[in-house]
């Protein structure tokens, strides 16, 4: 053997390029089919989400993370002595890099607990809003971003999870999903199919509200609907200009100015909604016939994109609207509360579909828009300002993995059939525990 190994001459032959290409194709096919076999599906053909990862991930998975999270929340809600607050909170701020110059209120003695400080507010103007179409909804670190291919979202390089599992799939009649309509007690409705809104009995012309008073910019037709694009409707181009040009008609109908005074809140609401409509570049009468898609069917010329933002313990933990959009529904997925740190994201597959999360689904200027705050061990509670019924990280019997409870916000705005939000508008936040 030694002689043969050392004395046999090596003769090299050229390998045809086609053979090499075929070999690569075969290897790729084998890899893909192996990955497909590894995905477990249930009787409905939906992927079954399981804990996958190295042994230390399974060890962490065996811990009572939800109970730990609630205990953590309780401990941090305990009131601190007033004399201790400046020292304790300054130490926390120093350890986690919080900027105390931008918080409101600035006096640390006004924060009764670490939990209250964690959910702190920022001073007005502390975060200038860029005029770009998509802005950051939170302070944090970009973990990943890109396009979604074949309904798989990339968690880290080479590890993906299902878009259906993240956002939920429509399953009418499924006993495990429950839909409720979140009522917003506003006396405001659309008067039949005409372009008028009724606010506490006063009719407002939507045409006036939505900006016919603004100078139209030639060539900017609404891009949201094939029917709309065939119309001669023109929309102003600059959101800033549009907002500035919005006005409230003091009298539309038979009321006098004096009687309108008591309806200010409803008017402001209407103007806010109209402002969102303008920034989205839509006409409410068309939007009323729309509903959110699941994001699976994009329009021709469009693609699906994603981005993941990680909020570290010292970051400001409220989140804001990333664009002008309308939230049509929320789906609350009860789940685990693993840490979502970059370390864990690299090791635990399906992390973002295993954890408790709130999927807010709706639409923006370009079609489907979804925002998913995902809880973690230390921050299991997710608050949504316009949804007081939402309760996350609660004790009790947990729903099976992958199921969710759903609420629809169609009553929030009769103009837009959902909860309208302007860019950087505060939406909610994460609380300790």
């Amino acid at each position: 053997i030694m002689t043969a190994w050392s004395e046999t001459p090596t003769k090299w032959y050229p390998l045809p390029l086609a053979v090499g290409a075929l070999l690569l194709v075969a290897l790729q096919y084998h890899k893909k089919s192996k990955r497909a076999r590894e995905v477990d599906v249930n009787e409905d053909g939906l992927e079954v989400i399981k804990l996958k990862g190295p042994w230390h991930v399974h060890v962490i998975g065996a811990l009572p993370l939800r109970n730990m999270s609630r205990l953590w929340g309780y401990v941090n809600s305990l009131e601190l002595p007033v004399w201790f607050r400046p020292y304790g909170l300054r130490l926390y701020a120093y350890a986690f890099g919080c900027n105390l110059d931008e918080i409101e209120p600035k006096d640390l003695r006004e924060y009764p607990s670490l939990g209250a400080f964690f959910y702190r507010k920022l001073k007005d103007g502390a975060r200038p809003v860029d005029p770009a179409i998509l802005v950051s909804p939170a302070d944090g670190t970009i973990l990943h971003f890109g396009t979604i291919q074949e309904s798989r979202v990339e968690q880290v390089k080479g590890i993906t999870y299902s878009l259906d599992a993240l956002l939920g799939v429509e399953r009418p009649g499924s006993p495990s999903s429950m839909t409720t309509v979140v009522e917003h007690n506003r006396d405001m409705s659309i008067v039949d199919d005409r372009e008028f809104a009724n606010v506490n009995g006063i009719e407002y012309s939507l045409e006036q509200l939505i900006g016919s008073s603004s100078p139209p910019t030639p060539g900017t037709t609404t891009p949201t609907d094939s029917n709309a694009s065939s119309s001669s409707e023109t929309l102003p181009s600059s959101p800033t200009t549009e907002q500035e040009n919005l006005h409230i008609p003091h009298k539309v109908g038979d009321r006098t100015d004096a009687s309108v005074g008591s309806d200010r809140n409803a008017e402001e609401t209407l103007v806010h909604d109209a402002s969102v409509a303008l920034q989205m570049g839509v006409k409410p009468s068309l939007e009323r016939k729309r509903s959110a898609t699941s994001g699976k069917h994009v329009r021709p010329g469009n693609s699906l994109f994603f981005t993941v933002i990680y909020l570290a313990p010292g970051d400001y933990h409220r989140f804001h609207s990333p664009t002008a959009w309308v939230v049509e529904k929320r789906r609350h997925f009860m789940g685990e509360l693993f840490s979502v740190s970059p370390w864990m994201a690299k090791r635990l597959e399906n992390l973002f579909v295993l954890n408790e999360r709130v999927a807010l689904l709706g639409r923006w200027k370009h079609g489907f828009f979804g925002m998913v705050p995902v809880g973690a061990t230390n921050v299991g509670s997710i608050k949504i300002n316009f949804d007081q019924d939402l309760r996350t990280n609660v004790r009790g019997k947990r729903a099976p993995p992958g199921t969710y409870t759903e609420a629809v916000y169609s009553a929030a705005s009769p103009l837009l059939r959902g909860q309208p939000l302007v860019p950087a508008e505060e939406m909610g936040g994460f609380c300790l525990g």
Binding site: S136, F145, F305, F306, T307, L311, H320, H366, V374
Partner: protein, 31 residues
């Protein structure tokens, strides 16, 4: 905690961020 954004946009939409970047509320992510 983490926030995942999933959205439909024209195929020529471009992110102007990089993985690992620190971002603040209201900072542009793409256009």
């Amino acid at each position: 905690s983490t926030i995942v954004l999933v959205f439909e946009a024209p195929s020529d939409f471009e992110f102007n961020i990089h993985a690992g970047d620190k971002v603040k509320v209201g900072q542009a992510l793409g256009d």
